[in-house]
Amino acid sequence: MTQNQLPTGVERRSFDGRERLATRGKTVYGEPTDGEWRLWDAGRSKLGAMLELGMGTGLSGGESVLYLGAASGTTVSHVADFSGPTYAVEFAPRPVRDLVGVAEDRKNLFPLLKDARKPETYTHVVESDLDVLVQDVATRGQADVAVRNRQFLADDGRLLMAVKARSEDVTSDPGAVFDGVVSRLEDAYEILETERLDRFHSDHLGIVARPK
């Protein structure tokens, strides 16, 4: 396992005697704090798991971000803590209510109640040449979503994606599902790294890629 550097604004801090990821910002979901740092639980966050597993996310801190599948804001709140402008797309109304609360506590988080399969409904809001596209939509057609949202990424930007096997197909072997997703992604992206996130999230694959 290559140990990549954590982005500025993310640190390992000691919680209950264990070294865990943490960012600085207002608490969101009752997570423990250590001074101004709050625990970023890799068990509740796929991006957190990717960092915890030492994947080469390329994040250094301060990036501009489009986050797809923000839900109630658990992970995107941490992302906004160490990033620049952060656009958070979620299509289910109920979690968006919480997401709005998270955005109210932050200056750089822009919540959007939009369907990530229809980027044309937010191209007039989300800027071009973003540094990072984070995707955790856990829905069928995950690779398509990433391909359609390629247009927001700078040529040297990064896609950081979590794929949930069961969202694509509950019956097939996860490995086969991941192969299918990766090969569809390759239409628009060059895959830099993949790693199973099972230690934190069963049947999930983490992918780091860059636009072709």
Partner: protein, 280 residues
């Protein structure tokens, strides 16, 4: 291209207008919107741009989510109606079952609980087979009613938080259902809310056959049931008045307003204090 931007042609201070552009707009492709906004004079610099984007996106997400959730009032309506149907049907069948089982088994009782016990029996012949099977359906139907009730209890506070706080989830769902939706409930005067569900009694009154009904489904509320009979009219009026306000808040804004709940509590206390004065 810039004319597609969410900020194009709108007054920077008009958050309502920018929010609705965020909700409804579209562009062929993303662009360097912060720079375009500064160029066009929408914002003095990037910081100001993001500040405005933040206000507009928060407003847009909040209103869009609230509207989408409000559409859930129709689901709540179907669910509470189905719950009542499941309840009525389970009871009706349990009664039929009780009669039938009574002719076969000595110790069999009446009602849904008896049906659950019966469903566990090992049938000994083709008649018992039918009875035990029917008992299973009754038990399933009662389970479905419970599951529907849980659904209603979970969803009503999301659809109508103030009403659910005031009247409880099931009564809230019944009122929404009787009115035909939260939007129409929000438009009803409190006198109508007071007698919703008492339509039969109301028609009898209008036809000159009965006195005017004092309350409809809201009579199950503690504020009325816990008040002595001669004051129940005042209690029903007070409750209906606050429920009508709660319905409007839930429909138009959706935020929780603790003060209306306190006001109702005080009003009911005042009404009940009369009884104590009379006793003295």
């Amino acid at each position: 291209m810039t004319e597609d931007a969410w900020f194009a042609g709108v007054d920077p201070g008009d958050t309502e207008a920018t929010a609705s552009r965020i909700r409804e707009g579209s562009a062929d492709a993303p662009a360097d919107w912060p720079a375009a906004a500064v160029d066009s004079g929408f914002a003095a610099d990037e910081d100001k741009y993001y500040e405005r984007l933040r206000a507009a996106s928060i407003e847009a997400a909040r209103t869009a989510a609230a509207e989408a959730e409000r559409a859930d009032d129709k689901q709540l309506m179907h669910a509470v109606r189905a719950m009542d149907d499941a309840e009525r049907t389970a009871n009706e069948l349990a009664e039929r079952l009780g009669e039938w089982a009574g002719s076969l088994f000595e110790e069999s009782g009446m009602g849904v609980d008896a049906a659950r016990e019966l469903a566990q029996r090992e049938p000994q012949d083709s008649t018992e087979e039918r009875v035990v099977s029917l008992a299973g359906r009754v038990a399933d139907l009662a389970d479905e009613r419970d599951a529907l009730r849980e659904y209603v209890e979970r969803r009503a506070p999301e659809v109508a938080p103030n009403m659910a706080e005031m009247a409880g989830p099931v009564l809230t769902a019944r009122l929404v259902s009787l009115a035909g939706g939260l939007d129409s409930l929000a438009k009803k005067p409190s006198g109508t809310v007071q007698v919703l569900g008492a339509e039969d009694a109301l028609f009898a009154h209008l036809a000159g056959r009965a006195s005017s009904p004092k309350h409809g489904v809201i009579y199950v509320h503690e504020a009325i049931r816990g008040t002595r009979p001669q004051d129940r009219g005042s209690a029903a009026r007070a409750l209906a008045g606050k429920l009508a306000i709660a319905a409007r808040i839930d429909h138009y804004s959706g935020d929780v307003r603790p003060e209306i709940h306190d006001e109702l509590r005080e009003r009911i206390e005042t009404i009940r204090a009369r009884a104590e004065e009379d006793d003295e």
